[in-house]
């Protein structure tokens, strides 16, 4: 991007999306302001580790489970820069998304992930969950942090 918005760094992912290439996770940062954005088109049971690469303060979580009309999913967030053991590591935050629903959680004051933000999406609530059991269809997740 140009000087209007500063230098947008997103490792070419948006570029790829415009060309119809599906990539699961993209992270964008902008030197013009302090917020970072992450977009995952298919969050699954296997955890995405430390997606922003450092500690962050989360301000918005938007989860779209529209593709799974009859399936409840649980987005789980972990304050960790390391790999979590799905099914054993207790999530610090968990959000239940009903089948076919899209929910937006706004955190005006932010919540701290000092170690890094790691996340996964499970069909099982709580600490339990099988790393091989993904939601049937893609669950889309947007995050805004700084």
């Amino acid at each position: 991007m140009d000087s209007l918005t500063g230098v947008l760094r997103c490792s070419g992912v948006v570029y790829d999306v415009f060309r119809g290439v599906i990539v699961a996770l993209s992270v964008a940062t902008n030197s013009g302001f302090s917020y970072k954005m992450a977009y995952d088109t298919d969050l699954e049971a296997d955890a995405k580790v430390n997606i922003f690469g450092s500690g962050v303060e989360l301000h918005l979580l938007d989860v779209d489970n529209a593709a799974n009309g009859g399936q409840v999913v649980y987005v789980k967030l972990y304050d960790s820069s390391n790999t979590v053991t799905v099914g054993q590591t207790a999530p610090d935050y968990q959000f239940r998304i009903g089948g076919g629903e899209r929910l937006m959680f706004v955190l005006p004051g932010g919540v701290s992930f000092a170690g890094g933000l790691t996340m996964n999406c499970s069909t099982t609530a709580g600490t339990s969950g099988d790393i091989t059991t993904d939601p049937t269809n893609g669950v889309i997740v947007n995050l805004v942090a700084k």
């Binding site: 207790a90 929910l103 937006m104 955190l107 600490t127």
Partner: protein, 124 residues
């Protein structure tokens, strides 16, 4: 424990449930029917991290530490967390809440050692 429920004239949440001394050993039944949550606020004046855990979809009191919560929200010591749900978040059957010290996920039965309060704005 002291649970206060008040009617308000706000279409995005006609009731507020406020717990002034949240515990793990006392599960509050916020609602007995289906409804929609619009805002959640947690204040932790204690010195240990706590977790607000919510259960829905059951008319039976959940067993803290055993029954997997539907929602989990961490609140660090000395901090507050405010969660707004502009479109609302629906729940079915009933809504239950408890606060556990130190342990996220499913496990944990320890009462907060400090004073923890929470409020939930909802419509039923």
């Amino acid at each position: 424990m002291s649970l206060l429920q008040t009617d308000v004239s706000n279409p995005l949440g006609t009731k507020i449930a406020k717990e002034s001394t949240a515990k793990a050993s006392v599960v509050n039944q916020i609602d007995t029917t289906a409804g929609t949550i619009y805002q959640i606020e947690i204040n932790n004046s204690g010195k240990v991290t706590v977790f607000l855990k919510l259960w829905q979809g059951t008319g039976t009191v959940p067993t803290v530490g055993t029954d997997a919560p539907d929602h989990i929200f961490r609140c660090l010591s000395g901090k507050s967390v405010n969660i707004s749900l502009p479109g609302g978040m629906a729940y079915t059957t009933a809504l239950w809440a408890a606060v556990v010290e130190g342990t996220g996920g499913t496990a944990g039965t320890t009462d907060p050692s400090g004073v923890v309060t929470y409020s939930i704005r909802y419509t039923t």
